[in-house]
Symmetry: C2
Subunit: 307 residues, 2 copies
């Protein structure tokens, strides 16, 4: 099953996808359910009631004009992993623990939905706006001190993520801080695919295309810390909550394509990494799950805006 | 004016302090106002209406049995600063940029209110639970690209903070991640004192006592990055929002008191730094503002708890 969050008439809603271009609006099919995916996940029988409500039905609505929201609009926490792919560790030359995951957080307004614009900062603020194609985990059932073998029972599903990063700011100091939290700099979507439909994440790949050209393409089995280990680690200090998002880290860059003349980019002079700029279109695909697409738009100039 | 958040009958409320032990319940004095401090700050005339509602009144309620909540229960973001006091930089031997603040984030369930227990992790999970006495800023008016000279116009007030940290986890990797985000590991409170009543933060001191013994005592003028610079920096990438919290960083440890025989503590072997353990009582004071007190209680054992 695939569920997504969208906005219509200023309100948030949840839809269930029934075909290539069709969905069922849950506030019509199951008006008693909460109108947010987090709210549904927080109810013990929430997902079962969704299944009952859509069983045997065909969606009458088209996805074409839907305004997607981030898959989870209001997570208690969005956790994210740094340096979780060997190829990304190698290309940056950075060190990271092989024993403990490298975690940071993203604040909600840094994340938009499928098809919404990502904002490139004005060039007098920052110049290096990077895509990061990633798998993201959505927690379904809360828990603490979750053992590895129980980890999957706590996952509701998976989504695609572009963990867009402002590299100039990221290297201001040791913690990434603001560099991972610019307004509308990343995205999740289009939908959450439930665990039993997605199957084993390690069997899939993450692929990132900028203006149609592949820039990342790696098996998820390359992850240093797999999903189960993340859930075990996080839950040793944090009570997992329904709707929590965990972004699983990004792989290294593909080498330039034949005939391409790319300049090595950023502090780490990575060949094949290309910054995003206004007018670009970025797509992240998780095979077997879906494609998350966003256009890059210039943010407003850096002038004082009280508000 | 001093405002605080408290819980009663399972609901959150806001109170205004009128004396050593008295307060006015805002849902009685101004029932039309939102019942959260963030909600009040989000209204353009929110604070003016609070002033009108309490003008000339004496509070009929006692603070004695109040169950304090964190000053802001539901901030969009809680930002926190690492290594913002020269004495703390020196004692850790860590490097930090002198140009850009060192920022990370805390998630809401890591923060409790005044008088609520802080949870010491089971010793098989972590052993080093540290206090960090700090000043915290509460944003009143949103804004982007705020110049230094306008920064104070965006502050609603200040509160006291214990940015409690699990050092074992903090050093698992370069970003602090989970080490700054254990459940109920830090606190804010007791109240927010409005900017015009608190005056210049640089004129005040931060003092931390563990079981009545002073362990930190430093002038806030020692901050590497003052409040104005933080607001300027953050707003270059993030839209400040009413109710946002910024924790301003902690000073170094006081040397041991005469006759004390302390073992240097933690990775950095800091003499005078003492870990918190169940049964302890920790107090953080910002002079001119108030004292935030919490008892330390053992968290539950590290056994699997789904749900």
């Amino acid at each position: 099953m695939r569920l997504f969050s969208y906005t219509s008439g200023g309100n948030a809603h949840v839809g269930v996808i029934t075909g290539d271009d069709s969905f069922i609006a849950l506030d019509e099919a199951a008006p008693d359910l909460p109108h947010s995916l987090r709210g549904i996940l927080e109810k013990k029988d929430g997902m079962a009631r969704v299944r009952d409500a859509v069983a045997g039905k065909t969606g009458g609505r088209s996805l074409r004009d839907v305004e997607f929201l981030p898959v989870i609009v209001d997570p208690q926490v969005t956790w994210a992993l740094a340096l979780n792919f060997k190829t990304h560790i190698e290309e940056t030359g950075l060190t990271t623990s092989r024993e403990f995951p490298h975690l940071f957080m993203r604040q909600p307004s840094s994340i938009v939905g499928h098809r919404r614009p990502l904002l490139a900062p004005p060039t007098d603020v920052a110049k290096e706006f990077s895509y990061e194609g990633e798998l993201a985990v959505i927690i379904g059932k809360g828990g603490r001190h979750v053992p590895l073998e129980k980890a999957f029972e706590h996952i509701a599903g998976f989504t695609v993520c572009n963990e867009g990063s402002i590299r100039d700011y990221q290297r201001h100091n040791r913690n990434f801080g603001l560099g991972k939290n610019f307004e509308q700099s990343g995205s999740t979507g289009p939908w959450m695919m439930t665990t039993e439909e997605f199957g084993d994440p390690q069997a899939q790949r993450v692929i990132t295309r900028l203006n149609g050209i592949e820039r990342q393409n790696a098996p998820l089995s390359d992850m240093l810390f797999p999903v189960e280990r993340l859930i075990q680690y996080l839950s040793s200090g944090y009570n997992l909550r329904p709707g929590d998002v965990i972004m699983m880290g990004t792989p290294g860059a593909l080498p330039p394509h034949p005939g391409e003349n790319l300049t090595p980019s950023g502090r780490h002079k990575i060949l094949g990494q290309v910054n995003m700029k206004p007018g670009d279109r970025v797509e992240v695909e998780i095979t077997g799950l879906g494609v998350l697409a966003n256009n890059i738009v210039a943010d407003e100039p850096a002038t004082y805006r009280p508000g």
